[in-house]
């Protein structure tokens, strides 16, 4: 099989992946509307991975890493970039083959390129999540994180989810043969990634490193922390804890922590304590979510199994 004559534009890469996974039964979600550091943190992954209920979804998630900003001057580093996230629960037996199919769909021929599954055990201490898997290499470049979730929020999962995280900019740079992210073709007719995002990187980098008011960030962090705990203590119309809004506040607190960190406002000694606070909030949400799932008090998206656990309750 030959490579397609014209490599995919950035947006076509996204559209192709969405189509590919949509056809394989995934709900194609839109990005979560709270700042996150990684696509995994979207509740569609981190919370849905808990409990016994099956789930299939794919989405693009803009990811923010304030400390990685380089004012638009580094060809490989961005403080805002895109991940394409797929979660399949339970993981199908042929997940590797499905994944390789997606690479073919975007024009990477495994007979021409060197695709390798290299050990990489994933761990995210702030959300107490871990899994085993690989980083997938294409000609020596890591293009995807491939993980079998084993635990989330410090809780071992009931059913293992397969999670794929594509680094979209890298993948596109590879497919298009471009060395600088800002030179990527965003659209087929020539709008570049730089035209879309360069100015954003410049301004956001300045704000991340020099702009934000540290005291304000700190205050808001504490507000979000308190809000999360408060919401989790409240109950909804069916008597359920307000896990989802509480989790939103955790994400916000987490982003505020990243901003403080980029501002150089976190002393070494404080760092662990901040991470511990976020992890505790996250864990509280995870525990509450698992309980809800196991008791099936939340209406199922398929409306199927809502009654199953009620008798037991």
């Amino acid at each position: 099989m030959a490579e397609p004559s014209e490599p995919l534009a950035f947006q076509d890469l996204i559209l192709t992946l969405q189509k590919y996974w949509g056809e394989r039964g995934c709900a194609i979600l839109q990005p979560y509307d709270v700042e996150v550091g990684a696509g995994t943190l979207h509740p569609a992954t981190v919370l849905r991975a808990l409990g016994p209920r099956p789930w299939k979804a794919a989405y693009v998630q803009p990811s923010r890493r304030p400390g990685d900003g380089r004012y638009g001057e580094n060809p490989n580093r961005l403080q805002h970039y895109y991940q394409f996230q797929v979660i399949l629960k339970p993981n199908p037996d042929d997940l590797q083959e499905l994944y390789l199919g997606s690479l073919k769909a975007i024009g990477i021929d495994p007979k021409l390129h060197d695709i390798r599954f290299v050990e990489d055990d994933w761990e995210n201490p702030t959300v107490g999540a871990w899994g085993l898997g690989w980083e997938v290499w294409c000609d020596g470049m890591e293009v995807t994180q491939f993980t079998y979730f084993q635990g989330v929020g410090g809780i071992e999962v009931d059913v293992v989810s397969g999670e794929l995280t594509y680094g979209l900019e890298r993948l596109a740079m590879y497919v298009q043969g471009v060395d600088n992210v800002y030179d990527l073709k965003f659209t087929r007719d020539g709008t570049t990634y730089g035209e879309v995002f360069l100015e954003n990187e410049r301004q956001q980098s300045q704000a991340n490193f020099h702009g934000y008011d540290v005291e304000g960030l700190k205050r808001r962090f504490e507000d979000m922390e308190a809000e999360s705990t408060r919401l989790l203590a409240m109950t909804g119309p069916q008597g359920q804890q307000l896990v989802l809004p509480a989790y939103d506040q955790v994400l916000k607190a987490s982003h505020l922590f990243n901003l403080m960190d980029a501002r150089g406002a976190i002393a070494v000694a404080e760092r662990q304590s901040y991470i511990g606070r976020i992890r505790d909030l996250c864990k509280a949400c995870a525990v509450a979510y698992v309980e809800q799932e196991r008791e099936a008090l939340l209406p199922s998206p398929r409306g199927g199994r809502a009654g199953d656990g009620v008798e037991a309750h």
Binding site: E3, P75, N76, P90, N91, P92, D93, Q96, P110, K111, L112, H113, D114, I115, R116, F117, V118, E119, D121, G131, L132, G133, W134, C138, D139, G140, M141, Y148, Q150, V159, V160, Y174, D179, G264, I266, A267, V268, A269
Partner: protein, 742 residues
Amino acid sequence: MPQLLIELFSEEIPARMQGAAARDLERMASERLKAAGLTWDALTTYAGPRRLTLVVEGLPVATPDREEEVKGPRTSAPEQALEGFLRKTGLTKEQLTDRDGVWFAVVASQGVQTTAVVPEMVDQIVRGFPWPKSMRWGSGTLRWVRPLKRIVALFDGAVVPFDIDGIPSSDMTEGHRFMGSGQPFAVRDFADYRARLEQEFVLLDAADRRLRILEAAKAVCAERGLVLVDDDGLLEEVAGLAEWPTPILGDMDPAFLDLPPEVIRLSMKVHQKYFAVRDPARDGLAPNFVVVANVEASDGGRALAGGNSRVLSARLNDARFFWDEDRKVGFDTWLKKLEGVTFHAKLGTLADRVERIAALAREIAPLLGADPDQAERAARLAKADLASGMVGEFPELQGIMGGYYARDLAAPFPLEGGRVGDGGGGTASPVSPQDSAAGSTDDRVNAADRTQAASTPTQPSPLQGEGSALADAIRDHYKPQGPNDTVPTAPLTVAVALADKLDTLVGFFAIDERPTGSKDPFALRRAALGVIRLLIANGCRLKVSSVVRVHSAHFPRRFGESDLSQAGEEVELLLFFADRLKVLLRDQGQRHDLVDAVFALGDDDLVRIVRRVEALGTFLATDDGTNLLAGYKRASNILRAEEKKGPIPTGMVDLNRLVLPQEQALAASVQRARMDVETAVAAEDFAGAMRALAALRAPVDDFFVGVMVNSDVPEERDNRLKLLGQVRDVMGQVADFGLIAG
């Protein structure tokens, strides 16, 4: 005889786990088969990226029927005991035999079909396999290193049917993920399995994969007149990452060659798993690399070489960023940063450690012919690079980068001996106390590479003379790192290297962090061995005990330790050195007991100990040596036996009461030997001391032949015992011969 073939086919197994997995599979299968009473001719295992394979040749179809005699209770035992025994054996009382008042039963057991053993064996292996990390997948409960997909189980050409957690056994396997037919295929036996796999682009045996990589990698280099830089660790790893390993030569932008070659090699190895390539014409690295791909690409590897080359450029650009940034920062800033980096919670910061090493280096410098001021300065700068960006990225480059930066920054040195900077604690820094606790880095680029890079500094004034020795000391002070690493000999380097390791040892012993069994998290054994090798190779007459005592004072005694515990740790540390030295000497072929015999003298001058052991070994290999040793043992035995009866007479031999010529001769010889040995030992002429002892051999032999020690005349007996005591004492000046075997 029938053959058993098992394949456990899974998703990609981490390369680092494959070797151990093959050994574990071999061990577990042997244990299970043996437990089932089976025997076999040969048992072999293989591990690769997607499969573990077991083949057992020459198994019987079944274990033989057996009759076994079982011992029961005494015939006089209560009835219940007999009933229990009958229940256990399933026999009646009439079937038992009474032999000497004890019941015996003959129990027959039927042989077991091997095919009945296999399912349980595989099940136990899979469920009990000691993977360092394992996982669940899907909705199942089984654990394996990655999802387990298929199980081949063939005995004597037929499938042994069973399943493990829903995975059925079969005769079907799969070939290469990309180059194979893409269809599962059936195999008949091991030969067929191996051949079919190769047709499907899978090399089963890791040794075959390594060989293919080495040969092909060397060939692609040779085509361009280049030479592969060997790296066994990397070879092992890449052989675990590809079922059909295919080396391809890639190009790199030659502009990167102005980076230190160690940096280039580590970037290639750690991040990309590439081999470096040397250009013999320029006696340095070539602007190339070898990537070991898992496919023979349809375009000959052009696209994938290009892709890899782009990735490497990005990596080397990162490295260049650190290299450029670090040289703008420099030693002063790094040293200040070390004040904010904890070395160990109980041993203070890295800056504290630097102070201690500097003080110690200053003290021991004169012993090595190094200038104390210089030694202190070199020690003060030696750890600075731990705060540099490059070492943060590549901890393996500690020391090496310091050496480069020292040369490159021309005048980075705070020439006054005082402490650099003050305060500034709590500085955020990515540095971890890699220093000395880090893993060994034996795979250094050779000296030729280093010289080549060192000769291309970006600043025009490389250090000369003293400065160059200083930079060498910074670079090499971690040496020797492993048993195969070279030992520094430059006086300044040796002073810093010794101070570095002794500080580690004294510190961790003081806080009771000693190695136990296989655990040695702070690499103290390596540090002690390093000290020993440094002392011996440089003939350095350092008294370990006094250094330990002096250096202990450099640690704040704020943890409530008394002087008593300090004395205790001094002794323990000495014993620790003794143990390491024994291991070293044994590895060099010296006898363990000789080392003990010399250590018993209580000397702690390691150089002298080694010389003594060597001389002793040579002496005992001679006829005189063995015979004298025998004489010594005989004398000792007599003395020990007499000691039990009462105190042994000591003191001068009464020459007038020596009646027999043999005892007169021995007395004269002992007298002479004592003086000769004393003189020789004082001059550390241990060969001479041995020669002096050799002169005792004949008189001692003659004495035992012609003289009866236990004479009826008490004065004669006392005199002879005194004489034997003197022989023992004279020999004891050289070694404790009582501890020598033979």
